[in-house]
């Protein structure tokens, strides 16, 4: 089809200069003479972005952050971060006359006496939930597809800190209303701080301005929540995006996609429209969630009172896994020379989450150390083609999921009529056994999927055509994959693992630390990866497929005539 058939007003035609463009030109000239942006804009306006659904996950995080900023600014107009006592006299009758803090009273005011206030509060909270969730799924996508490899390791580290900051931002935010649920969380946080060896009690007294709960914690959390952490988040997000632009986005292997290019749509207009449109979709979805689904109904919890608590007290979801570890940790406390060492709090809260963050940050550097790969990588890998990497994430995710489950052990016990003691004992073992099992299963699974790919490449895909042989047997015919698909499947490096001699040689040649351990890990990491099909295998398979196709055609041509009803009977 020639381009002469293209519809007249379509964007693929060169634009004709009109009056409107002249005005744009004048403005652009004015700006460029002062800012000199043209050289930068020239490079970036038609910058290419590849297309894939999984590249959208980070965008959800980015846009929820923007929604958080917008709704947050509105909330600051009415919220009063003070713990001074006032008598609630607002519209919510059940609490009228109750002494509450100004923070709680102003949250109630936003919820019941400001039109759209409850919507804003719920949108802010839903956006926060979505922000952390999408960051974590984005992180898993980046890891599983190998997008963290050189030159993107620094962006991976920035991303890990964004998850950490997002989590802290969430905690400082949901603690602000000073309701019974969030106050219980702050109470526990005070317990965590006090469990810190040597300096814990002092940090607690300084942070709370005296004994818990005091009158300072809410204003202090507030300044962290609306100034310090958002500032850091903004700076890191800016750096994250700038590096993304500089490195150019990774892409999936496929026809025409190489390590040296990036194939996709230009930023102006297509990508800008898609990303910009997606902002409105995220914003709109959050507005619907905020309008239709109740989240954090502080009026049901009531104001914070250190003598009260409610069963089923749970933090926001992203705080669930340390809380779960806290629940299943054995009651170990050591008392030495008049001092208390609270292992029961330190291990799940002060050791495990920082250790998890450290592991996350180190993942790219670990893999790189093991592989010794010094090249840049811009083509993504399917999770199955890196079985050990995928298995490592499976193990980490299983640990996370089990710890998170433990955070709801009381809810599980009630909903399923189980003994909370037995759930706790089970999870104590499961957090150790589960990740190991997950590692083994995920690795074997990946290898099976690789074999399946190989099978498809060499024997074709299942066509759904059943053929009966002259002997009476039935068989399904396999047809060769289309070229583009076959290319996408085979456009990967063959990772061979080393023999014993090569291992010894590699260890001898490696000048870094632990050469033997590294050689052994290298073998373990890349062993059993199904090698890529070879040219010879493909040729043979092609030959075989052609032969089969001929046979099938012959059978189809011959079949019905021989066995069907003869004409003229």
């Amino acid at each position: 089809m020639s381009s002469a058939d293209v519809a007249s007003t379509n964007g693929t035609k060169p634009a004709t200069v009109s009056g409107g463009n002249k005005r744009v030109g004048t403005i652009a000239n004015w700006a460029d003479e002062r800012l000199g942006l043209a050289s930068l804009a020239k490079k970036n306006l038609r910058k290419v972005f590849p297309d894939h659904w999984s590249f959208m996950l980070g965008e959800i995080a980015l846009w929820s952050f923007v929604v958080l900023l917008i709704t947050g600014v509105f909330l600051t107009l009415w919220f009063d971060p003070s713990m001074s006592e006032v008598t609630y006299n607002g519209s919510y009758a059940p609490l009228r006359g109750v002494d509450v803090s100004s923070a709680y009273a102003s949250t109630m005011n936003i919820s019941f006496d400001v039109r759209g206030g409850l919507l804003l509060r719920q949108m802010h909270h839903w956006a926060a939930t979505l922000f952390v969730a999408s960051m974590m799924i984005h992180l898993m996508r980046v890891y599983l597809t190998g997008a963290f490899r050189k030159p993107r390791e620094i962006n991976w580290v920035i991303g890990c800190f964004l998850v950490l900051l997002g989590t802290i931002e969430g905690f400082t935010g949901y603690s602000l209303p000073d309701d019974l649920l969030s106050g219980t969380g702050v109470r526990a946080a005070d317990g965590f701080i006090k469990a810190t060896p040597i300096v814990g009690t002092y940090i607690s007294f300084f942070l709370f301005g005296g004994e818990f709960p005091g009158s300072h914690i809410i204003p202090r959390l507030y300044s962290m929540h609306i100034l310090l952490i958002p500032g850091l988040l903004l700076a890191l997000i800016a750096a994250h995006m700038m590096l993304l632009v500089y490195h150019k986005h990774t892409q999936w292997p496929g026809p025409g996609r190489t390590e040296q290019n990036v194939v996709g749509f230009p930023m102006l207009p297509v990508y800008m429209a898609k990303a910009g449109g997606f902002f409105f979709i995220v914003f709109g979805t959050i507005a619907l969630l905020g309008g239709l689904f109740s989240l954090n109904p502080v009026w049901k919890f009531g104001p914070y009172d250190p003598s009260k608590v409610t069963a089923g007290s749970q933090p926001d979801w992203y705080m669930g896994w340390p809380d779960g570890l806290l629940r299943i940790m054995p009651a170990w406390e050591t008392h030495l020379w008049g001092h208390t060492v609270s292992w029961n709090i330190m291990v799940p809260i002060l050791v495990c989450p920082p250790a998890m963050l450290t592991i996350l940050i180190l993942l790219p550097f670990f893999e790189n150390w093991v592989s010794g790969d010094k090249r840049e990588h811009h083509l993504l890998q399917r999770p199955r083609n890196a079985p050990t990497r995928t298995a490592i994430l499976a193990a980490l995710a299983t640990f996370y999921a089990l710890a998170w489950t433990a955070g709801g052990n009381d809810i599980i016990a009630i909903k399923f009529g189980l003994s909370i003691n037995e759930i706790t004992y089970f999870l104590r073992g499961a957090v150790f056994v589960g990740p190991v099992l997950a590692f083994i299963i995920a690795r074997r699974w990946c290898i099976s999927l690789q074999r399946h790919d190989q099978e498809k490449l060499l024997h074709g895909y299942e066509s759904g055509v059943l053929v009966r042989s002259p002997a009476g047997g039935y068989a399904e015919k396999h047809l060769p994959l289309p070229l583009a698909k076959a290319y996408a499947l085979t456009a990967r490096e063959t990772e061979t693992y080393m023999t014993e001699e090569q291992m010894a040689e590699s260890a001898a040649n490696y000048k870094g630390r632990f050469p033997k351990l590294r050689a052994r890990l290298q073998r373990a990491y890349f062993a059993h990866t199904v090698p890529n099909v070879t040219v010879e295998e493909l040729h043979e398979a092609q030959h075989h497929a052609e032969h089969e196709l001929h046979e099938m055609e012959a059978q189809i041509a011959a079949g019905p005539n021989r066995h069907g009803p003869t004409q003229g009977h």
């Binding site: 089809m1 519809a7 379509n10 964007g11 001074s84 009758a93 006496d113 919507l119 030159p151 526990a188 317990g191 006090k194 469990a195 814990g200 009690t201 002092y202 004994e211 709960p213 005091g214 500089y246 292997p253 025409g256 190489t258 390590e259 990036v262 194939v263 996709g264 749509f265 429209a273 449109g277 902002f279 979709i281 709109g284 507005a287 969630l289 309008g291 250190p306 003598s307 608590v309 009651a331 170990w332 406390e333 208390t340 709090i345 592989s371 010794g372 010094k374 090249r375 840049e376 990588h377 706790t424 070229l483 076959a486 290319y487 085979t490 456009a491 990967r492 040649n509 490696y510 890529n532």
Partner: protein
């Protein structure tokens, strides 16, 4: 995989795998590219979505002024209409813009895939050498390497500037002192031992008021009658009251006196089978409240630490490391339950300086 000593330019990958790269697939025209009717239809769809979005934005404003909130809020099917109407109209107004723009991009904007060359992340050798030369020259001219005295004294002085930033934090709060070792229960006098009152009702309790199996949430009488104990009333007001409650909250439970296994020296800490324990969990400080009447077990709803009230508050399950502190109680002249003294150990979560009291 063997060691790869390729340079970092990202190149040298002639072929990926056994099949030669077929190249970027040929562009296929969409219906909207070749059929003016389809093009017009897509144009109408997109602008209709933008138009509908505007309608919902107006409906948002209308809902804002129409539906009441506050005391006489507009209810529909049991829901507050204002929040739902505002959320749905705003959500749809935004979603329609988003879907419209994406439809525009997919159906009407050019969809030719283009390819752009990547550049290696590293700078070219010339820039690197130039930078290194400039850096060396600059450092050389500053003489920072040749004058260690200047360099080290500057580093020391700037480093020391961190100290004021840390010192300034000192006045964030008072030092702990021994405040964690005391509660308001200890402020009773010989004449007026601290009475135990029901939380929320604030009435003193006669031993005979409790039946076996009862569990009562209690507080010290000082909150309502500070003058009786000679306590400054500001100590039990506002946030100060919260601080007191965070330490002094108490649980009373009555059980068959025969069930109680008193710890050493605790024989006379109970009154007719009534025991008193701190309500604040020794794990991270949640108030404990779930009572299992037949076993005398008390469960913390936060992390499920379980304490045996018949046996000195010992931990029978969960992550708490220490028994619940027990309050020695007695009755005063009028027969009301009172505290004999303060708790004999700090209540609430553990902290580093805490001296362990062996039971």
């Amino acid at each position: 995989m063997t060691d790869n000593t390729h340079d970092s330019t990202g190149g040298e990958l002639a072929e990926l795998g056994p099949i030669p790269d077929p190249g970027i697939p040929e562009h296929t025209w969409r219906p909207t590219d070749v059929d003016p009717k389809a093009e017009k239809r897509a144009e109408r769809q997109v602008s209709a979505m933008f138009g509908l979005s505007a309608v919902f934005t107006i409906l948002f404003v209308v809902s804002y002024f129409t539906f009441h909130i506050g005391e006489h809020w507009t209810v529909w099917l049991g829901h507050g209409v204002s929040t739902i109407a505002l959320g749905v109209t705003l959500g749809l107004a935004l979603l329609l813009i988003g879907v419209g723009i994406i439809q525009w991009a997919r159906k009407l904007m050019g969809d030719h895939e283009i390819s752009e060359l990547r550049h290696p992340a590293r700078s070219d050798d010339e820039s690197r050498e130039g930078t290194l030369a400039a850096l060396t020259q600059g450092l050389e001219e500053s003489g920072i390497a040749r004058r260690p005295l200047i360099r080290n004294s500057l580093l020391g002085a700037v480093g020391l500037l961190g100290v004021p930033a840390i010192v300034m934090l000192r006045d964030l709060g008072p030092l702990p002192g021994d405040s964690l070792y005391h509660t308001i229960w200890g402020m009773g006098t010989k004449k007026h031992p601290m009475r135990i009152v029901r939380d929320g009702i604030w009435s003193p309790i006669l031993a005979s008021d409790l039946e076996i199996g009862d569990l009562v949430n209690c507080q010290p009488d000082a909150y309502k009658n500070p003058q009786r104990y000679g306590i400054d009333p500001t100590l039990v007001e506002g946030t100060e009251l919260q601080v007191q409650k965070a330490k002094a909250s108490l649980i009373l439970s009555r059980m068959d006196p025969g069930d109680i296994k008193p710890g050493p020296g605790r024989k006379n800490w109970t009154v007719d089978g009534i025991v008193a324990y701190s309500k604040i969990c020794t794990h991270v400080g949640c108030p404990i409240s779930l009572n299992e009447r037949t076993t005398h077990h008390l469960l913390c709803p936060c992390h499920q630490s379980t304490f045996d009230l018949a046996n000195s508050g010992k931990v029978v399950f969960g992550p708490a490391g220490r028994p619940l502190p027990q309050l020695p109680i007695a009755v005063d002249d009028e027969g009301y339950l009172v505290a004999q003294s303060d708790f004999t150990e700090p209540v609430g979560p553990s902290f580093w300086e805490r001296n362990y009291v062996q039971r």
